[in-house]
């Protein structure tokens, strides 16, 4: 038995030992299988991907996101700087609000996808970046700052001092409410507050990457394990469990959240990736704006589609070819057996002419076409 294709995780160069998060000992004690991911040693699963996935959809799950990066942006021109380096309109953010956005390159490709939070006290912003891109992003953001000598802005990599844990699932609010006096029902989606959770002062927000309700916490790094323990204890009566990267991937896929390196890349433009809604061409000048305007005017030549395979089949996996009438038209960007739907699903990047909900498309699995049908996205949307 040997693996055909490795799990969709980035690997580290062999001469560099993977870093460990503040929760490493917790994962080992919980029986996690640890794997290298984006330069970190992370849990891919504890009890099993399917069970962990279902726990998040029906109860609550806890995620160690210590590998993700946080960049603090502040100063008189913090807003002007963020408008320059991101695609979305950061001026729309009130205090505490969060926004999905992209870091574009000059050609209109995507360096990373990000969440930008405006600080609740309005004293600047925090940008959360992907682990796999953290070093590249920080270098890019610093260069952009250095080039804009006209802007008075501080850009600080906080990744080593800020921890990150997420709780996700229908019981997330109930569990968290047991640990804080902040009235959580008053926090709308994509908003955060400064407050104490388990006696630890921090910023936290109603955001996540699973399609469920929940919160992402940003405690001081040295108190991350304390917060983890408090959430595990408070959630015990609600069936909380730790969730590894494996279920994180199937959860985000069902919710059609893009993963950088799969749906997004520096040679895929935001319109092709289906995140053109996060590009605000009318907000004023920004990096890549002119290129993105030309791409939008011309019309994307490729589309991101969703598909499902009816009946039993091997699961579609990243990079499998997609074909129509025997002609290759693109490739799978992400695919998996969907634990919620009980069937194989995937996202693909295909020639625009073949895209359309209801149209057939073949997934080429080990040389053989397997019939799939294009479906509306997302695959899963939680009941309000």
């Amino acid at each position: 038995m040997t693996h055909h294709d490795e799990p969709t995780v980035a690997t580290v160069s062999p001469d560099e030992a993977p870093r460990r998060t503040a929760l490493h000992d917790r994962h080992v004690a919980l029986g996690a299988r640890m794997v290298p991911f984006a330069g970190w040693e992370m849990p891919i699963q504890y009890t099993g991907i399917l069970a962990e996935h279902r726990a998040v959809r029906s109860g609550a799950g806890l995620f160690d996101l210590g590998h993700m990066g946080q960049v603090d942006v502040r100063g008189p021109d913090a807003l002007a700087y963020l408008q320059h380096v991101t695609t979305n309109d950061v001026s729309k953010l009130g205090p505490g609000a969060a926004q999905y956005g992209l870091l574009p390159n000059a050609e209109g490709g995507v360096i990373d996808d990000i969440i930008t939070y405006r600080r609740p006290d309005a004293a600047g912003y925090m940008v959360v970046i992907n682990a796999a891109n953290a070093a590249k992003d920080v270098a890019w953001l610093r260069r952009a700052r250095d080039e804009r000598t006209d802007l008075d802005v501080e850009v600080t990599d906080m990744s080593d001092t800020v921890g990150m844990i997420a709780i996700q699932g229908p019981h997330a609010e109930t569990i968290t409410q047991g640990l804080t006096d902040v009235p959580l029902g008053d926090i709308p989606g994509f908003h955060g507050v400064d407050g104490e959770v388990a006696g630890i002062p921090m910023f936290f927000a109603r955001t996540g990457y699973t399609g469920e309700d929940g919160f992402e916490f940003y405690p001081p790094q040295e108190r991350t394990a304390e917060l983890w323990d408090a959430l595990m204890a408070a959630g015990a009566a609600h069936g909380i469990g730790p969730i590894g990267l494996g279920a994180r991937d199937t959860l985000r896929l069902e919710a059609r959240m893009p993963l950088y390196g799969n749906e997004l890349a520096d040679d895929i433009d935001p319109y092709e990736a289906g995140v053109g809604w996060a590009v605000k061409l009318d907000k004023g000048a920004f990096i890549g704006r002119d290129a993105l305007a030309r791409i939008k005017e011309r019309g994307a030549t490729r589309r991101t589609i969703g598909f499902r395979i009816e009946g039993r089949s091997a699961p579609p996996r990243g990079h499998y070819p997609l074909a129509v009438d025997g002609v290759e038209v693109g490739h799978v960007t992400s695919g998996a057996f969907s634990p919620t739907l009980g069937e194989n699903i995937g996202l693909g990047l295909v020639e625009r002419s073949v895209a359309g909900v209801g149209k057939p498309i073949d997934v080429i699995i080990r040389g053989k076409p397997v019939r799939a049908v294009q479906v509306a996205l997302p695959f899963y949307r939680r009941q309000p």
């Binding site: 040997t2 055909h4 699963q45 991907i49 399917l50 199937t250 089949s313 091997a314 699961p315």
Partner: protein
């Protein structure tokens, strides 16, 4: 879980149960644990030939697709339809309900190359560390 003592094993984590000139093949508990939740199996049909050290099937877990190797040459005489319909049996019962195929051996002496349970446990233990 220690490997059952009545079976023989490969370094690619298949197990073999001999019954006359026919051998039953499955994958070990070590293999299913490593793979995680199994969602799909591709297995040969009765009458198909399998060749020693060549892949005869594919097991797909949520994480990855992996080849399953034939421990010897032979002809498939039966495949387990239950495990094709219910692949999670490989996770719950790797040595019993989730046998994969039965093969008529072309050369029974090829079985001599396989490990016994003690040797396999030691091999799997060493590979894990």
């Amino acid at each position: 879980m220690a490997a059952p003592t009545d079976l023989r094993y490969t370094k690619t984590h298949e197990w073999v149960r001999l019954d006359g000139d026919t051998a039953t093949i499955g994958i070990t508990d070590v293999a299913q644990t490593e793979l995680g939740d199994i969602t799909y199996l591709e297995l040969p049909e009765s009458g198909d030939e399998v060749s020693r050290t060549k892949p005869f099937g594919i097991v797909e877990s949520v994480k990855a697709a992996s080849d399953i190797y034939a421990p010897f040459d032979g002809e498939v005489v039966e495949r387990n339809g239950d495990v094709v319909d219910t692949p999670e049996l490989v996770n719950s019962s790797p040595y019993e309900a989730a046998w994969l195929i039965k093969v008529r051996l072309a050369d029974p002496s090829q079985l001599d190359e396989l490990m016994d349970s003690d040797a396999y446990d030691a091999f799997a233990d060493a590979a894990a560390h």
